[in-house]
């Protein structure tokens, strides 16, 4: 026997009973008060009043929503090479704080994750981190150079769940075709950062009225939509699974709608910031509003939101992109793209989608958990008995103010600092084990 007790909820640990929460499981159309029992890292039973087994640990879920943990298909945890921005450890813990139980990490680190050893490193660091599950995405091309295919089979054997050159588009149509064919052996998707580079140029924001007034180089909507139009043809040609990252332009939504109507294996994601903000956030040369793809117009914002509501866009993904403050504290042209997103995703989803009535709470949980599990074939995103106990407990009504200094992420680059959000994560369980609990101020004090 090990002298150290195994953690409660996990394999070999004491069972955990979540008592009296609102069980919300869109994967089974469940929404009602009930208990949930976790045994050996899996959901043993969910619903009704459950008797605590012997030696059971109790978790009071009264007033909280108990939902399948969120799954983020698009994060940048920066390790190796960018540890001053984020590490796998800080990123995995920030994810758990945001209610995420699984994150897929992009391979554009330095060096990039383009071989099985690097994939194994990310996987191992993720396991040590004690936060959300960290699932590595392997590079689609060696050194992200867009020329030669990586050893995808070897990377999958080492734990890779997808391939992508994110940060760069896979611009060579021949390479993308081969990738969409070759990945079918392993049943994994190709995640594409869609951007025609000749059109995006060195654009640092959306091209239009605001870029014209600010004198900043712009990227037109067509830079994204034209690439997506091309890629949909390749998905149709090959039958491979194309996943379109961070949709930002209304014309892209039109392309995706057409692909959906034709029944193609094309899925897509939208970020919380493209749902919440427009290009006007850049005014004043705010580098915390500099991201790629850029924030677009109100028309585009409405279109991506409608796409998500209609299911044309499948999931919300944060594109969590940490940067050190001094990298953002410079001229707009020179600042890097991206913002952190893990710890504000739920609150933004509540404020931008649920409160205005675009999506139900179940709809939001679906887009953040069930849908990513469904489109990627992940064994999660449900409270069905027998499933891994990847669970988030959150208060859907609690209002709080975003304080970037309080983030568990190593970086604070967010345009949402000071904004009041609704909906706050209290506890996150990964494989039944508590990986995050919000520290509540001492009420006696």
């Amino acid at each position: 026997m090990s002298s150290r007790p195994r953690p409660a909820g996990g394999p070999g640990g004491r069972p955990v009973l979540l008592k009296g929460g609102r069980l919300l499981d869109p994967s089974r159309d469940v929404d009602g008060v009930g208990d949930l029992l976790v045994v050996d890292g899996r959901i043993e039973a969910a619903g009704g009043t459950l008797e605590p087994p012997e030696g059971c640990e109790m978790l009071d879920a009264d007033g909280l929503v108990v939902a399948p943990g969120f799954i983020d298909l698009h994060v940048h945890l920066r390790e190796p090479g960018g540890e001053h921005k984020e590490t796998i450890l800080t990123g995995a813990r920030a994810a758990a704080a945001g209610g995420f139980t699984t994150v897929w990490t992009m391979p554009n680190t330095d060096p990039p994750i383009d071989d099985p050893a690097a994939v194994g490193f990310v996987r191992a660091e993720g396991e040590r981190a004690g936060g959300a599950r960290v699932m590595p995405i392997g590079a689609a091309s060696l050194d992200l150079a867009g020329e030669r295919m990586t050893e995808i089979g070897e990377m999958v054997a080492a734990g890779a769940v997808a391939v992508s050159d994110d940060g760069h588009p896979i611009w060579n149509a021949g390479l993308l075709r081969r990738l969409l064919e070759y990945t079918q052996t392993f049943g994994i998707p190709v995640l594409q950062h869609s951007e025609v580079r000749e059109l995006a140029g060195f654009g640092v924001m959306n091209e239009g009225k605001v870029s014209t007034a600010l004198g900043l180089r712009g990227q037109p909507n067509a830079a994204e939509a034209a690439m997506v139009a091309r890629d949909i043809q390749l998905a149709e040609l090959t039958g491979g699974h194309l996943h379109v990252c961070h949709v930002s332009a209304r014309q892209t939504v039109e392309q995706l709608r057409m692909a959906r109507e034709r029944g193609l294996s094309v899925t897509s994601e939208v970020t919380p910031h493209h749902l919440a903000l427009t290009e006007t956030a850049v005014r004043g040369y705010r580098t915390d509003a500099k991201m790629n793809p850029p924030l677009r117009t109100e028309e585009d914002r409405e279109a991506v939101r409608q796409g998500l509501v209609d299911g044309v866009i499948d999931v919300i993904a944060t594109d969590h992109a940490p940067h050190h403050y001094e990298e953002k504290e410079r001229e707009f042209d020179d600042a890097p793209f991206g913002i952190v997103g893990l710890e504000t995703a739920l609150g933004l989803g509540m404020c931008e989608l649920v409160e205005p009535g675009h999506l139900s709470l179940a709809g939001l949980v679906d887009r953040m958990s069930c849908s990513p599990a469904r489109i990627m074939g992940i064994d999660a995103g449900t409270l069905r008995p027998g499933s891994p106990a990847d669970i988030v407990l959150f208060d859907p009504e609690e209002r709080w103010t975003v304080e970037p200094e309080a983030f568990l992420s190593r970086s604070r680059n967010t345009p949402f600092g000071g904004r009041e959000l609704t909906g706050r994560v209290h506890v996150t369980l990964v494989g039944g084990v508590e990986r995050y609990r919000r520290s509540v101020p001492d009420e006696a004090a």
Binding site: K209, L214, R330
Partner: protein, 325 residues
Amino acid sequence: MRDGTPPGAGLGKDLVGLEGLTGEQIRTILDTAEPFKEISERRIKKVPVLRGKTIVNLFFEPSTRTRISFEFAEKRLSADTVNISATGSSVQKGETLVDTARTLEAMRIDMVVMRHGSSGAARFLADRIPSNVINGGDGQHEHPTQALLDLLTLRDRFGELEGLKVCIVGDILHSRVARSNIWGLLKVGAEVAVCGPRTLIPLGIEELGVSVFGRVEEAIEWSDALYVLRLQLERMKAGFIPSVREYNRVFGVSAERLERAREDLVVLHPGPMNRGVEIDSDVADGPRSMILPQVTNGVAVRMAVLYLLAGGKPEAAEAAKQGEA
């Protein structure tokens, strides 16, 4: 401030661009420039208006006329000036702009005039130091003192800016001079159009309130004043135009084309000119040319901006230049 008028005509701490100013503020600057014109005509071109003030001219891009014009304005107002020239961006230089700003501030300066290659750099600096910041051109964003001197020149000539029809011809996309002139002219009630190859007209320009002419002939027929922009020769290499020769053929402002213009149409140019490209010599050197009056007015306008940002009251400018401040 006995009468409650805020110092500096309420311009605030900085002059970053004309987009944020009102028509009234712009007119105040132009009015304040009037008395300062005369100083440069004196035998002893110096008044003690800014005595004891320290001004840094911080130029991250090469500039001859803007830097010299500011330096004359500062020296004729008796300020102490330091010129810093850094080629390339602050990043290439190895020091970040925020560090440069803090370093200057630690030496207790009063004002900074900055030219920088990145749009937004002036705003960035102004937000981080308590000194007055004057934008001497930031990337493709704004060049407010250039537009102010252009407005002054047009007002000198026509007496009134309201209703004046001004067309800016050339590379609008990359031009901070165009942007500042668009804001400035619109705010004082002028009508503004732009003209150039569509590759050099930025998307959404109409939404700023300007009209677009596809052909320079139409622009000439419409205009009271043509503002001809310098064509950077590297635009050809970047593929915006096929050749400089063709640009001159299609968009060049020539005496022949101006035959169809109204009799008192004037031509402005911010310099330096590419003779035979965007403007032909017989126009640049001809009776319609405002190019040298623009340069002369540049010093007076910059004196006015320095004076107002230093806290001078517009109505006291006449007395101030007599040494009574």
